[in-house]
């Protein structure tokens, strides 16, 4: 059985962790990064950042690299992504 239940509301999502009973909100950036990781497992950080920026149709500097790293840290912390 899957550990997580995910429900997207437009560009955001809510995640329920069946193992812990915790509920988390995913920002649009975190949801985009999570989707990218699912579609392209093993993708490099720089490519992931570029893909995320492209998702939002923004200029590269409108989502900083630090924003991407923070969102990835959040995804790892809640268990949606694991560090290789």
């Amino acid at each position: 059985m899957a550990r997580f239940l995910i429900k997207a509301f437009g560009p955001e999502a809510i995640v329920f962790d069946i193992a812990s009973g915790d509920t988390h909100a995913l920002s649009p950036l975190a949801l985009a990064l999570y989707s990218i990781c699912l579609e392209q497992p093993g993708i490099a950080l720089a490519e992931m950042h570029a893909s995320a920026v492209a998702c939002f149709d923004l200029a590269t500097d409108e989502i900083s690299f630090a924003n991407t790293q923070d969102a990835l840290t959040h995804l790892r912390r809640i268990g949606l992504l694991s560090t290789p």
Binding site: L5, F9, E12, I14, I18, G21, A25
Partner: protein
């Protein structure tokens, strides 16, 4: 029969003896008390509610509101709330007996009604759709709820939104509306139809009074409603009346954090909550004038076909 059909003497006698059985929404409760202020409160606020013989009818909750001991009947008199013989709260001053009964009944539902997702929020209905009003204390939730139900909206509850785990529908619990501090006089002035009890002062919540639920809301207390909106009201002095769309994800997180049993229900709570959020429109609502607030809500209810969900 209705509670109002009991004479004051019979009501007091029955309360002190076998207790008074009442139906409130999907729950039945048996209340026992020797205190005249409890009899008076029930008589003023629950007259329209169904009552039966406590010897013959099953009750979900058996509660008592009485002095904790002989000494406390005379020296700095106090009152205790008990549920199935257990006392979940510390005693309060005697003059808070009636508010304590209402708080205790809220506790009974919020701690035990796990066949519902129970959210701390007011909820009103018009034209078949319910508006859920979650908000932190002091945001004017109960005041707005009271004004809405005095203006044609149906009271489902001013404190507890009960979402049926099987159907996702909201079940009414149209008990008295708890008013605090300035909102007591505001609601009295708002409508001649408002039946508001005498305030009890110096409670933990300040001055507290209760408004009788409208007769039609009590009559329709077995009629559930579909959720239409989740609206976060906030009263602000001089604020312009404004409904602003709000993130569904944020709204869900707030509701989950303000549900009494979301964690208890596990993945069922998540599925139920997200399914509900999928079908509603979510707004922040600021207001300073109650008449404008009512007009804004009426506009929503009268334009159901314009809903985004």
């Amino acid at each position: 029969m209705k509670l109002m059909q009991l004479t004051p003497v019979d009501l007091r006698r029955q309360l002190a003896d076998s207790g008074v059985w009442l139906r409130t929404g999907p729950f039945s409760v048996r209340v026992r008390s020797c205190l005249p202020q409890v009899a008076d409160g029930l008589s003023r606020l629950y007259g329209q509610f169904e009552t039966r013989s406590p010897h013959e009818a099953f009750a979900d909750f058996h509660v008592e509101i009485n002095p904790p001991g002989l000494l406390r009947r005379w020296i700095r008199p106090q009152v205790s709330f008990s549920f199935d013989g257990e006392m979940p709260f510390k005693p309060l001053p005697l003059d808070q007996a009636y508010p304590m009964l209402e708080w205790g009944l809220n506790w009974c539902v919020s701690m035990h009604a796990h066949h519902y997702l129970v959210i701390h929020a007011g909820v009103v209905e018009k034209n078949g759709l319910a508006a859920i009003l979650p908000a932190p204390p002091g945001s004017g939730k109960s005041t707005l709820t009271a004004a809405l139900v005095l203006s044609g909206w149906r009271l489902l509850s001013d404190e507890l939104t009960l979402i049926d785990r099987k159907t996702g529908l909201i079940h009414p619990l149209p008990r008295p509306v708890s008013l605090k501090n300035a909102s007591i006089d505001l609601i009295r002035a708002f409508s001649a139809d408002a039946h508001v009890t005498k305030p009890v002062h110096d409670t933990l919540k300040g001055s507290v009074a209760h408004m009788r639920p409208p007769r039609d809301s009590v009559r329709r207390q077995s009629e559930p409603a579909r959720a239409g909106w989740v609206i976060f009201p906030k009263w602000q002095a001089d604020a312009v009346t404004a409904l602003t769309p709000r993130s569904r994800a944020e709204t869900f997180m707030f509701l989950a954090q303000n549900a009494f049993n979301y964690s208890h229900l596990g993945s069922d709570g998540f599925r139920l909550g997200t399914a509900m959020i999928d079908t509603v429109d979510c707004y922040d609502f600021t207001y300073s004038r109650i008449d404008e607030a009512i007009a804004a809500f009426d506009h929503l209810a009268d334009n159901i076909h314009d809903r985004a969900a």
